[in-house]
Amino acid sequence: MNINQSPKIVPISSGHLTEVQFGELLDGTKDNVVNKTDRALSPAEEHLLTCAQCATELATLREALVLFREVSTAYAESELRNIPRVELPARRARMFTLRPAYFAAAAALLLASFIPIQMLHQRAQKAAQQAASATAATNFERYASESNEALLDDVNNAASASVPDSMQALADPMGTNDLSVQKSNQRKD
């Protein structure tokens, strides 16, 4: 299979690198780095020496991966410039630990604003009560004085009323009535 005709990966059985061999070479970890002085060449490395097609493909893909890293890094750095620096977790953590204190402060503030209102309300209530009691007292006094006057009038009326004859003696027990005294004197004579 011609490698230029299809994007499918050509197995080594057809004369080219396998997926794993290609991956190992591309991976480029320390064990896979071609170092002719330290060790013998692997079959994949030997193949690269004889197959220009695989060698070119490996080289271009390796370059593309390096470029991918460089470009991604540059892009991320440019995006990072528009982003604020990471907020210090220490400060955030302190904020979290202080959260109960914030609640307490808010509660105190609420209480502080509520107490004067309550006091004002109580004062107004007290004033209203005082006014009401004062009005009641005035009314009572007026009523009391009016009732006293009425009672006195009744007494006066009763006192000034004419005494019946049968009750005349009782009406003047000291004998101040001349008529009765005269009558008794005449009877003695």
Binding site: Q5, P7, E19, T29, L67, R69, T73, V86, P89
Partner: protein
């Protein structure tokens, strides 16, 4: 190395005399050093600017919260990428991510990325080819499965070696290799296809 910091007392008790300072305590330095790297990985993985920004913030917050659990069995950068990867996984599982992915409102355009090809290319034609190559790889990587994409990016963007990727992802070495080679195979196929079209 470690023996320099160890003093043996008469009773035979060895005590580490110098308490090694946790590098995560100096958060300003950690952020300055690793924020670009974490953001780059998340941006390439999620292809969503806003999500990458949010999760970068979240990565450092989590790292700060869990700094006592950092045992220096790996590099700080690797540890941060591991946190970022877990956050990205959680994020991609949410319905909101799927919705915005479909809407493609915040998604990164491959052409935008490709426009950052350095101008040092010898000719405008070769620069254009380079841009097309980068855009093609970006698009191909976007089409990979979540696991293949992650491993590919850890290898070729973050330049981690296979054992480091295995430690970061929690996958066996063999699994990492097979996913990486499959991902490379897909990228290679698209690359060849593009080369054919250019001819």
């Amino acid at each position: 190395m470690a023996t320099e910091n160890i003093s043996t007392f008469p009773n035979g008790l060895a005590i580490d005399m110098e308490e090694r300072a946790n590098p995560l305590e100096d958060l300003d330095t950690v952020v300055a050093l690793y924020q670009p790297r974490v953001f780059r990985f998340l941006l390439a993985n999620l292809r969503d600017r806003d999500a990458a920004e949010t999760l970068t913030q979240e990565t450092f917050l989590r790292a700060w919260t869990a700094r006592d659990s950092f045992r220096e069995d790996c590099a700080v950068g690797t540890w941060l990428i591991r946190i970022a990867l877990n956050l990205a996984r959680d994020h991609t599982r949410t319905g909101r991510f799927r919705f915005w992915k479909n809407a493609a409102v915040h998604s990164v355009d491959a052409a935008d990325v490709a426009s950052f090809v350095p101008s040092s290319e010898v000719s405008s034609e070769s620069r254009l080819i380079a841009q097309q190559q980068v855009a093609a790889i970006w698009q191909t990587v976007a089409g990979l499965s979540q696991r293949q994409r992650t491993i590919f990016l850890l290898r070729f963007l973050e330049e981690m070696d296979i054992p480091e990727i295995a430690a970061t992802t929690g996958l066996p070495l063999g699994t990492v290799k097979s996913h990486l080679y499959r991902a490379l195979n897909v990228v290679r196929a698209h690359h060849l296809n593009q080369a054919k079209e250019q001819k």
